[in-house]
Amino acid sequence: MNHIVSVSNVSKNYNLGQVVVPALRGVSLDVAEGEFLAIAGPSGSGKTTLLNLVGCVDTPSAGTVTVDGKQTGQLSERDLTRLRLHTIGFIFQSFNLVSVLSVLQNVELPLLLQRALSARERRERVLALLDRVGIREYSKHRPSELSGGQRQRVAIARALVTRPKLVLADEPTANLDSVTGTNILNLMKELNQSEKTTFIFSTHDARVWAYASAVVRLADGQVQDRVSAEEAVRAGGLPTGRPV
């Protein structure tokens, strides 16, 4: 099985003035294509840092991160951006839609940045995707006119519109109520299965783990273990034992 993401002995330090704060310490992790991987851990465990490194918005202080066969530490800023555009889709905790654009325009944006498709092709793909995530009727609305769940659906559509190999979701359900969160997770899982897109999402919501093909548990910037969803649920919580 091919590894879409390969993290090898990665450390990441942040400089806060004089103090060097280690966010990740010697993390190694391989993610196979088509996985639906959850990264679990309490606040400050390094979830987002790991996602940043995998998402090519940051590069490691030590070790290597390989995404789709490319070592991110060796890429220029431009190439990293290109890699994000073509290979990775992002779903953010607070949706991060462009407020002045309509739903359709928000979803179309990555395609415009790619400059690969004609206007008609773009439109067809965007509308099909909106249909798929169930908000086609809102295509002309502005994000501010939508509910949280609807907004996250737009965000998912935006992340998937370029047909990326990898989708990163940072606490995708954190700002949603549980029913909506479940719907979103169902949708993501469905897309994972139908499109064979690899999903990596960070969460400290134990209910989410049930959807994952595997759960990587982080603590203090280190990988605690990698368990199946069932094990994780059975463990009843985070490696530190803190209930969610």
């Binding site: 966010a23 400050g44 979830k47 918005v57 462009v98 654009l101 206007a119």
Partner: protein, 704 residues
């Protein structure tokens, strides 16, 4: 490629939506830009129009496109706008023909007009002098047996009337001021002139009495104001051809090969015209052209007061017959029984808004025909005395052929202060070595056994010996009266010369102080100036060539000054705009950090963000800049249709006429939009850099 356009579209969409989202800020920034571009359009259109009209004024009157003079000159040349009477000290260029040949050899040169600028104080047209001269002439003819008795008697009456007026005037002065205000000598002279003694023997032997009157009484009439004349010696034909705005008003041009003088109409009106009439004209102008009223304008009231008190000028002109005629006319007009004509005149000139128009007409219809309105008339001989360069007084008597104006600049003091004179007479006054005088110098040299006389010494040699020259040697500090007496000897000869034609070839052969150059293509002036100076150096005539702007002195710099002020204001406005736009965009960038981070995260390159901010700034710039330009164009259109009135003399000259009708050129709008776009672009640089530094991690607002 197709993708680019769509990307641009989405950039524009985001940018415009952002602008709309912060409407107030956009409006403030836009307002400043609108005002700035409006100012640029209106300002540059106005300055360009003034520039164009002023260049028409300057180029079309005296300066030509380029002025050329010797680079050895001490001073810089200015042909107009000289606020003082001093003419610049220029080194003459000896051979005009060679100069002309050299200049015409330069590709862009179309015509060359020889010139020389100088000034003189001319005491012309003292009423008493004129009357006495007429009397002298009549007395001579009467003694010679001609039948001029009636005219002679009338003129004699006139002289006695003048003496009466002058005596009364002196009495007045003594009453108003004090006993010592008039010298005893003058009082004695006046008493002698009025005495029967003087007049008893007059018919038999008038000459001693006439001489006494000429020497002692004429100077008492203070209307013998001096004329300050700035004149331009030139080749009349070449001048008229090259400066086609010049039009003869009275009389004729100076015929080719004749010596002569042309008054500028402006000088003729301002200096030569009867002061009372001039003031009436000014009052009339004030009322009809500048919509003033006597009741409200202190200026008009002052002129009226001067007319009321200064009737002597007219009184001196009235002989017995005219006095009676004036008395009858004024009594009728005023319905008065007053018999004193001076008092009647005073009463007549005490005008108000109600009766001014009628009295003005009455003055010109009934009174003026009996007066000499101008102290020097067309056809008169004018004696011009001037200091030559080496300090001698040289005088030339010239026929006044007429008056001229520069069309469109009739009322401009700046364009109107130069009178014209033939070049040959100019050279004499200036002290150049004309062929005639070269001959005379040669004679002197022969007599004195000298070998060589340099240019600088030529005059001293010529006039240094009173018994030889036609003019007496008088230094700068010389006594004027003495000068007049001594020069009497040469008078007859000079008059002869004044009527002598000269060979037009002389125009070419002699020296000139400067020359006006008319070019074929005015856009290549600076190039042509270089060519001229190079050609001069090559021909051994060291030349300095200057543009008409420079040649016109302060006036020429005026537009440059206005332009500088305009550009500085524009600079300030756009500097402010720059800071404000920059600030607004920085704020917008900071507010939108997460959004910008998101765009970066999902794959937007940095230049996409830069483009977004640029489009934002440019959109505001283009929209409001165009609005401002449009509004400015409208304003220029309205002003252009109505015209800006020239409220004073300098504006009249700058506007090249009574009104400036500014017009819009595409350049005005293009410059305005270019500035706006540049400012917009520049102001988005810093926020652009800021946006580029936003990390895509900004999108990840996790609690990590």
């Amino acid at each position: 490629m197709r993708g680019y356009l769509d990307t641009l579209k989405v950039i524009a969409l985001i940018a415009l939506r952002n602008l709309f989202a912060s409407r107030l800020k956009t409006l403030i920034v836009g307002g400043i830009i609108l005002f700035g571009s409006l100012l640029v359009v209106v300002g540059t259109a106005l300055v360009d129009s003034v520039d164009a009209s002023m260049s028409r004024s300057v180029i079309g009157s005296v300066a030509g496109h380029i002025q050329v003079y010797s680079s050895k000159s001490k001073d810089e040349l200015t042909v107009m706008g000289g606020m003082n009477m001093e003419s610049p000290d220029l080194t003459p260029i000896d051979d005009f023909a060679a100069l002309r040949r050299t200049l015409l050899g330069v590709p862009n040169v179309k015509a060359v007009v020889p010139m020389g600028l100088s000034s003189a104080i001319v005491t012309a047209g003292n009423t008493v002098d004129v009357v006495l001269e007429r009397l002298r002439d009549l007395a001579r003819r009467r003694l010679a047996g001609e039948d001029v008795q009636a005219a002679y008697e009338s003129e004699k009456d006139h002289v006695r009337q003048i003496i009466k007026v002058l005596s009364a005037d002196m009495d007045n002065v003594r009453k108003i001021q004090n006993e010592k205000a008039i010298s005893q000598d003058d009082l004695a002279a006046a008493a002698k002139a009025a005495s029967e003694e003087l007049w008893a023997g007059f018919d038999r032997d008038p000459y001693p009495a006439l001489e006494f009157l000429e020497n002692r009484i004429a100077p008492l009439a203070s209307d013998a104001d001096m004329l300050f004349l700035r004149y331009l010696g030139t080749d009349g034909d070449a001048f008229a051809k090259s400066f086609d705005r010049m039009k003869i008003v009275d009389g004729t041009a100076i015929p080719r090969g004749q010596r002569g003088f042309l008054f500028s109409k402006w000088v003729y009106e301002q200096q030569v015209k009867l002061k009372t009439a001039l003031r009436l004209d000014r009052i009339n102008d004030g009322i009809s052209k500048r919509s003033k009223t006597i009741a409200r304008s202190e200026e008009l009231q002052r002129w009226i007061k001067q007319n009321v008190t200064e009737v002597k000028e007219i009184m001196l002109q009235l002989d017995g017959q005219k006095t009676a005629s004036f008395r009858r006319l004024l009594q009728g007009e005023l319905g008065s029984q007053q018999s004193d004509v001076a008092k009647l005149l005073s009463e007549f000139f005490r005008v108000d808004d109600a009766n001014f128009a009628h009295r003005y007409r009455f003055f010109y219809d009934k009174l003026a025909p009996q007066l000499e309105l101008y102290r020097v008339r067309v056809g008169d001989m004018l004696t011009i005395k001037s200091f030559t360069r080496s300090g001698y007084v040289q005088s030339v008597k010239l026929r006044v052929y007429g008056t001229f104006v520069f069309e469109g600049l009739e009322d401009s003091h700046i364009a109107g202060e130069l009178n014209l004179m033939d070049m040959v007479s100019f050279r004499e006054l200036y002290g150049s070595l004309t062929p005639e005088r070269a001959r005379e110098v040669q004679e002197i040299k022969t007599m004195a056994g000298m070998k060589e006389v340099s240019r600088e010494q030529a005059e001293a040699e010529l006039f240094g010996k009173p018994d030889l020259g036609e003019t007496a040697p008088i230094g700068r500090a010389g006594d004027e009266a003495e000068a007049v007496l001594r020069s009497l000897a040469g008078r007859q000869q000079r008059e002869d010369r004044a009527s002598q034609p000269y060979d037009p070839a002389q125009l070419e052969q002699g020296d000139v102080l400067n020359a006006a150059v008319i070019v074929k293509d005015p856009r290549r002036i600076s190039r042509t100036i270089k060519d001229i100076e190079a050609a001069g150096a090559k021909a051994g005539i060291p030349l300095r060539a200057i543009t008409w702007q420079k040649a016109s002195g302060l006036v020429g710099q005026f537009v440059t000054m206005i332009r500088a002020v305009l550009y500085i204001s524009v600079l300030i406005i756009f500097a402010v705009a720059l800071v404000i736009i920059n600030n607004a965009l920085v704020m917008a960038t900071l507010e939108r950090m997460p959004e910008i981070g998101t765009l970066r995260a999902i794959g937007a390159q940095r230049r996409f963000l830069l483009g977004m901010l640029l489009v934002e700034a440019l959109a505001v710039g283009v929209l409001f800049g165009s609005l401002g330009a449009l509004l400015g164009a409208g304003i220029v259109g309205v002003i252009g249709a109505a015209g800006i009135p020239a409220s004073n003399d300098i504006l009249y000259f700058l506007f090249s006429g009574p009104r400036l009708h500014p017009s819009l050129s595409p350049a005005n709008v293009i410059i305005s939009l270019a500035i706006v776009l540049a400012v917009s672009a520049i102001s988005s640089i810093y926020p652009g850099l800021l946006a580029m530094r936003v990390s895509p991690r900004q999108a990840m607002q996790s609690d990590d």
